[in-house]
Symmetry: C2
Subunit: 233 residues, 2 copies
DNA sequence: GGCATCGCTTGACTAATGTCATGTTCCCGG
DNA sequence: CCGGGAACATGACATTAGTCAAGCGATGCC
């Protein structure tokens, strides 16, 4: 069953952290705890939703397959993030598939448990809306970026999101492999490679899965600039 | 105040249609009814949300301005559709701006009304999640299309969504002007024009805001085909 | 009626991205 | 330590979309 360490992570998740302890304990005690290997499927598109999922460790991607077999990555989640809220509560089919992209641990809260608790306390509904809103917001941002930025600019944003600080220099680790980063940013691995090359001009060095940013404000400017402007190479 | 005809439309909206009559009446009686001219702003990004909005007539667009001034259209709503649910219930800033793209009528349900009703009946929460899920789903589809289809294919999908039937031929009216369609599909008006030209090869004729589709399954095939495949021009 | 405006189309050109092919590096297992 | 496969990088080329500029046509205003 669940270790205390896992429960601690679950308690800090956006979904649960603002709920009263009592409800949290109820949910934790009814949850299903599972491990997945890299590449393992968590659920597939069109399958009917029966639980809300909370990632405790590792990385999970949500994606959609187009009729031609092209894969579009919708989001990537890690420790403390949850997904499937809006779907699980309505017993409708998942609009996406979910797959473990690294070995990972996921907690599943069966929908009936959540629904009965929600009927008892409407505050739960607000909490679920909070998570759902976060997802909406993230999708809107992605949409904006895809429509208004070049590939290299999206990569720049991605790197900036990995930084803690907002000035000076910074070193970060790429959280998952470049193929997935490319998918997440809506481009091919080749294009990602080239985008990284371009970013050299604005002080970004990539080595393996390690990135050095020499000037964060400069990179910010680049990411938010008009694509037409010229940035010395 | 509100005419009966407007109330009837509101009652059929996704947000309200599955609620008990009693609740619907409460919400309708507390709602604010407003008219907007073409181009008028309904709310702006970062403004704090105080109501859920239901479109009764006309068209409303939600969009985001990037720092450089580029506009990304996130969605376009019309009669019977609602927006702002997840935001209004949490008192957070809107992630997007809203503007009337034609003369239109919008009903605003103040968040406190909705919240107090939600506390009284958790079923309201489920109904709100239903609307929110619809938006999530639509954003996911848009993302998939942007990532996996060419401009012309997205236009094809757009036309197919306007058709009622799924076989034979069909004639439809373009619901709003081409500049907005282009924005909604993530392209420039010039590109939309050219996309329409290409679609001639798969039996689409555009005249003003009137579109003729001679072979719906053919257009479907085109929309879902691999961009690399060749379609005689 | 005439003129200005705006939405839309078209052409020529450029920038960005995908595709295909090739080569390198790294990691893992024998 | 070696070999094979996967991830990644790079070059050459095709396709797609954005940019800039010109022109058409309907609408509306004076």
């Amino acid at each position: 069953m669940a270790h205390e360490a896992q429960k601690a992570i679950a308690r800090q998740s956006l979904l649960l952290k603002s709920l009263p302890d009592q409800h949290v304990e109820t949910l934790l005690s009814h949850a299903i705890w599972r491990q997945y290997d890299r590449g393992e499927t968590i659920f597939v598109q069109e399958e009917s939703a029966q639980a809300v999922h909370v990632v405790l460790a590792g990385w999970v991607k949500l994606f959609r397959m187009s009729p031609t077999g092209a894969e579009a990555v919708v989001s990537v989640f890690t420790r403390g993030e949850s997904f499937g809220e809006a779907v699980a509560l309505r017993n409708v089919p998942y609009p996406v598939s979910a797959e473990a992209v690294s070995a990972c641990e996921v907690m599943h809260i069966p929908s009936p448990v959540l629904i009965s608790l929600m009927k008892a306390d409407p505050e739960i509904g607000i909490s679920i809306l909070a998570s759902t809103f976060t997802h909406l917001h993230s999708l809107v941002s992605q949409l904006e970026q895809l429509k208004a930025q070049t590939g290299a600019q999206r990569v720049a944003e991605f790197l900036l999101n990995l930084c803690d600080c907002d000035e000076g220099a910074c070193e970060v680790e790429l959280p998952y492999d470049k193929m997935l980063i490319a998918g997440r940013l809506g481009m091919k691995p080749e294009s990602l490679s080239r985008a990284f090359s371009r970013l050299k001009a604005v002080g970004v060095k990539i080595n393996r899965n390690h990135a050095e940013i020499s000037d964060i404000p400069l990179l910010r400017d680049y990411a938010d600039s008009d694509p037409a402007e010229n940035w010395a190479r």
